[in-house]
Subunit: 209 residues, 2 copies
């Protein structure tokens, strides 16, 4: 079994709208292009299949994150690259996932609240949260604990998605999870169906950020 | 990737105490002995990690089963043998899992209510359910829908666990999921930690049934 793929988890954490799903989706296709087995655990898919009924209290958020971590661990220890992109605001819970999984690559996806509220709020969620119409919104009236020692920080304030992806691939190569860091996919990508990214009319991933 | 393991799910269904976990645990070690990647999704592990907070209404049971099916599907499509052993009383929900997963081997583990209540009720659960002290107990005041076309029926009323296991291995070989059906493990087995089976003082699986 020594030639088999070694599993790992790439865990994107950051505020809603920071770009986690965008980079996750791009990474998914890069790993697929390398013939690696890979899965994304994100958004609607997780909410529908693992976490229906959970709310946004700290306890419910922790349950959701640990559930994603449990599944990511099952995949990782069976040789799959699991890509997770929940907000995961609490450091302690992220660290529990890290400890459980082992081959854990934490990527902090940074963007400021101001940027998100002013320029990346297509559904008006930040505005509603800031007006008090939505409660427990991470970054507004619910905490987000910035990772202290992530394997990588990407800053979508100043980087294009392609630049952030390049940094992720470079870090994964440094850590021995992939052989080469060169991006293989150019142009539009067909949607994995595993993230909440919007689609163009042709079924391709809409350009975000 | 053509030499890689093809994933499949073995889905044990039947009343509480019928022997699902016992046979699942034995199968786990047989698959491991064949160098196959395998996971068990059962009992406490599922309740703790996937389904905390769910009760025993039809809706909650269905949510639990579909959640197990979702995870089994992730494993199966990545080349893992997923062994699931929830009671899974409803035919429609089992069929949804079958449809989702594809490589689905349904094993009905049969034992009569009388046998379970009289001879396999160490915690007295059947007695309490029959006395009305526990509600929504499958087989007593909650339905169990017997599979109409399972891939296999094992009858723990008349078979030893070793005999039931032999039938499971034979069926998996017929279906092309394993190469040979001969049992490889003799005697006591170290507990996988993935089922609710009782342990002997030496950490080995207690003989059941």
């Amino acid at each position: 079994m020594s030639d088999e793929q070694r599993g790992f988890t790439v865990w994107f954490t950051g505020l809603s709208g920071a770009g986690k799903s965008t980079i996750a989706e791009m990474l998914f296709h890069e790993l697929k292009a390398r013939d690696l087995k890979t899965e994304i655990l994100d958004g609607d898919v997780v909410r529908q299949n693992l976490s229906k009924g959970l709310g946004f209290s700290k306890e419910d958020r922790d349950t959701n994150i640990l559930r994603i971590g449990f599944v990511a661990n099952l995949l990782t220890r069976n040789g799959v690259a699991a890509i997770c992109c929940p907000i995961s605001p609490y450091k302690e819970t992220r660290d529990q996932c890290r400890e459980m999984i082992g081959n854990f690559v934490e990527v902090y996806v940074h963007a400021t609240l101001e940027e998100l509220a002013e320029h990346r709020d297509p559904k008006g969620l930040y505005k509603k949260a800031m007006a008090g119409e939505i409660k427990n919104f991470t970054g507004v009236d619910d905490p987000y604990e910035v990772p202290e020692h992530p394997e990588l920080i990407v800053d979508t304030m100043v980087e294009s998605p392609e630049e952030s992806l390049a940094k992720v691939l470079k870090r994964l190569a440094e850590l021995g999870h992939i052989d080469d860091a060169e991006a293989r996919i150019q142009g539009d990508r067909v949607h994995s169906g595993l993230t909440d990214l919007r689609l163009t009319e042709t079924g391709h991933v809409a350009k975000e950020v």
